[in-house]
């Protein structure tokens, strides 16, 4: 099979898309408007979780705890006047979690909601901070018990801390909280706009069918497979271009860290295949070009909502998140957010990739079969 007809179709289709100013606006401008505004709305704070602290005493343990919490790079610690204020802050969502340090610091009280990713993350960060203070206390107590003076004990512990500081803890639990700000909205909008714009450009395919371009192409010495491949490749390249643009611009302009390039390329590539399948399906089933932009984007928005692309997943209920698992966006979000965590790579997202690849195979298979039958039929 000669590649020339395939390339001819791709070149013509890409040129058509490049001439569509409205389409270009939605591809080049809108994703970044959404990334910036939603990113600002769901807060960034350098990715810090707001934690409130009510501290009654002023002993060395309390001071050590406050100091340790203040050192945490992932926490934004605020002193709150009363336990009631703290609870209301957590309830309203202004605080991810709260810590009440009573006079007797041996009985700390944590205030957090149960089913909330930020709450869980804040809780685990507070746990680590408390654990570190407790460890210092315990080590000091043990040194004193072994006969050291308190000053010696403190020196030993400091030395031990410095040595342990060289040990880096990598990896994260599966339940680690989603990032906030651009780190969340960039991958969310990558998926959202790659899908929506793929659906919108399906209008060009409907137009090609309506004009009889595909039929006419078949009167040239061109195989049906070439026409099929040319049309599919055109949509795939549009999806890839959209995703690539968001990755590059968000990384360079907003400092978004995407993670392992190979992993990101694999996720974006498979998701672009899903979007291509959806676009071909829409382009084959609809009969009027105007229907594609009318049906495609709303569908893309709904799938984006279910997949956590419009607002943070933790803001959605469990039911919505579970339903979202039926569609590609949720798996794409999962994969991209996992890759954004340090120390992860392609292997960390193999399950998500497998699910997305399965969805792509189903959609593309159905779309290509239908497209061949409806648009390229030789009766």
């Amino acid at each position: 099979m000669s590649p020339r007809p395939v390339l001819a179709l791709v070149a013509a289709n890409l040129r058509r898309h490049a001439r569509d100013r409205v389409g270009l606006f939605f591809m080049v401008i809108m994703p970044f408007v959404s990334i910036v505004f939603v990113g600002m709305a769901i807060g960034d704070g350098g990715g810090r979780l707001p934690v409130g602290v009510v501290a009654h005493g002023s002993g060395p343990v309390v001071a050590a705890l406050l100091d340790e919490l203040g050192r945490r790079p992932d926490l934004e610690v605020t002193r709150v006047g009363s336990a009631d204020d703290l609870r209301s802050g957590v309830r309203s969502g202004a605080l991810a979690a709260g810590l009440i340090i009573p006079d007797d610091p041996a009985h700390l009280r944590l205030v957090a909601t149960q089913a909330n990713g930020s709450g869980l993350a804040a809780r685990s960060a507070v746990d680590v901070a408390v654990g570190r203070v407790a460890a210092v206390q315990e080590a000091t107590r043990a040194a004193v018990a072994a006969g050291a003076t308190p000053a010696q004990a403190a020196a030993y512990v400091r030395q031990a801390q410095e040595e342990s500081g060289r040990v880096a803890v990598t990896g994260g639990s599966a339940d680690a909280a989603d990032p906030r700000g651009f780190a969340y909205t960039a991958p969310a909008n990558l998926l959202l706009f790659t899908f929506i714009n793929s659906m919108a450009v399906a209008a060009a395919l409907v137009e090609s069918r309506r004009l009889g371009m595909l039929q006419r192409a078949l009167t040239a010495p061109v195989r049906r497979t070439s026409v099929l491949l040319g049309e599919a490749l055109s949509r795939f390249l549009v999806a890839l271009a959209q995703a690539g643009l968001i990755v590059v611009v968000s990384a360079s302009a907003f400092g978004v860290t995407w993670g392992d390039p190979l992993g990101v390329a694999a996720v974006v590539g498979v998701f672009a295949l899903v979007a291509t399948g959806a676009a071909l399906l829409v382009g084959t089933l609809l009969n009027a070009p105007d229907q594609a932009p009318a049906i495609g984007p709303p569908l893309g928005v709904v799938l984006g909502m279910l997949g956590g692309c419009l607002w943070p997943r933790e803001a959605s209920g469990e039911v919505i998140n579970a339903v979202g698992r039926l569609f590609p966006h949720a798996w794409g979000m999962d994969a991209l957010l996992t890759l954004a965590r340090p120390g992860t790579g392609l292997t960390a997202v193999l399950p998500q990739l497998a699910v997305l690849a399965g969805m792509a195979a189903l959609l593309l298979g159905a779309a290509l079969a239908l497209f061949r039958r409806r648009a390229l039929t030789v009766g």
Binding site: A11, T219, A220
Partner: protein, 338 residues
């Protein structure tokens, strides 16, 4: 527009389009089909259609809507698989070697199948690539075709800014890029202004004159009469008559109508006219007019004028010869523009 532009030069008389005389080894027909048939359920869209188009010959396919013209053409260009029969393009079997056969056909569909967002040149480039023209040769050929269809000046404007006639011309130009042996035009002048229509017909005649074979369908009888050497009349999926224009008209009988306007004694004139050899029937159609049914109307005129000499003077004559439309009406019982 250039002086040598066959699509746009109204002053150039059409080159007579006679099929070249075969030399020692007769070349195969440019397009040949036998026993073509296609059924959709119980409906026979096309039944046992067959014809040959010689190299350089212009062949017309005439029939009302729904007669099976487009289905026939779709089978000839490989868009529809025939239920029966076969198609050969310059001796190449379309079913056995579709790539080689299609490469020799230039097909212009009835609808304008071009990308409106692309320029005329870009549309031509797209189809040139589909036909496998090498990049360097393509650029030059596009310029030639643009010149041929008289759109060099508008080549880089987007198609959606073109008039209907200009779009039609690019639509035809698209099919000429690869220098096909057979050009198939499906109703190429539908919806165009008279000027573009004339330009298209002049251009088509020029191409045929230069040796290209043509299959032409049209609703416009006068176009088929003007452009085509031979015509097939198709109705209800069958070819019901085929031949040169003269042969087809002879099918209705050679009777021409002659309308005479006279001054003088019409009764006597009528009796004298009836006696002229070749006059089949004569009748008074008014106080000063007589209608005759004759054989060879226009050749009979001097004898008719001589016959009435002395009793009446002929002030006006009109000879109405039967045309393809009359033949069509006679054969199918319906008019073409049904």
């Amino acid at each position: 527009m250039t002086a040598s532009d066959p699509m746009t030069t109204p002053s150039t008389p059409p080159v007579p389009s006679t099929p070249p005389v075969p030399e020692s080894a007769p070349s195969p027909p440019a397009l040949s089909c036998r026993g073509l048939s296609k059924r959709y359920g119980d409906v026979h869209a096309v039944r046992d259609v067959g014809f040959d188009i010689a190299p350089g010959e212009a062949y017309g396919l005439l029939g009302p809507n729904g007669a099976g013209k487009t289905t026939t053409i779709s089978m000839l260009v490989g868009l529809i698989r025939p239920g029966g029969g076969h198609v050969r393009v310059c001796g190449v079997d379309l079913a056995a070697d579709p790539m080689r056969a299609k490469a020799r056909i230039g097909y212009v569909p009835q609808e304008i199948a071009l990308y409106p967002e692309l320029t005329g040149r870009e549309n031509l480039r797209f189809f040139g690539r589909l036909f496998g023209l090498p990049r360097r040769a393509l650029a030059g050929r596009i310029d030639e075709v643009l010149d041929l269809v008289g759109l060099t000046g508008r080549a880089d404007s987007r198609l959606k800014t073109y008039s209907g006639g200009m779009k039609r011309r690019i639509n035809i130009g698209t099919a000429l890029l690869h220098r096909p042996d057979v050009l198939i035009l499906d109703e190429p002048t539908v919806g165009v202004d008279p000027q573009s229509r004339k330009a298209i017909l002049d251009g088509v005649e020029r191409l045929v004159g230069e040796g290209m074979s043509l299959l032409y369908t049209s609703h416009y009888m006068e176009e088929v009469e003007r452009v085509c050497d031979r015509v097939a009349i198709i109705d209800h999926g069958r070819i019901i008559a085929e031949g040169t224009r003269r042969e087809l008209i002879a099918l209705v009988g050679g009777a021409d109508k002659v309308e005479l306007s006279l001054d003088g004694d019409l009764e006597t004139a009528l009796a004298k006219l009836r006696a002229v050899e070749g006059v089949i029937e004569a009748a008074m159609t008014g106080a000063a007019s007589i209608r005759l049914l004759t054989e060879g109307g226009r050749y009979l005129l001097p004898a008719l004028i001589t016959a009435v000499d002395g009793c009446a003077a002929v002030t006006a004559t009109q000879v109405i010869e039967p045309d393809l439309e009359a033949t069509f009406l006679h054969l199918t019982g319906s008019t073409l523009r049904d």
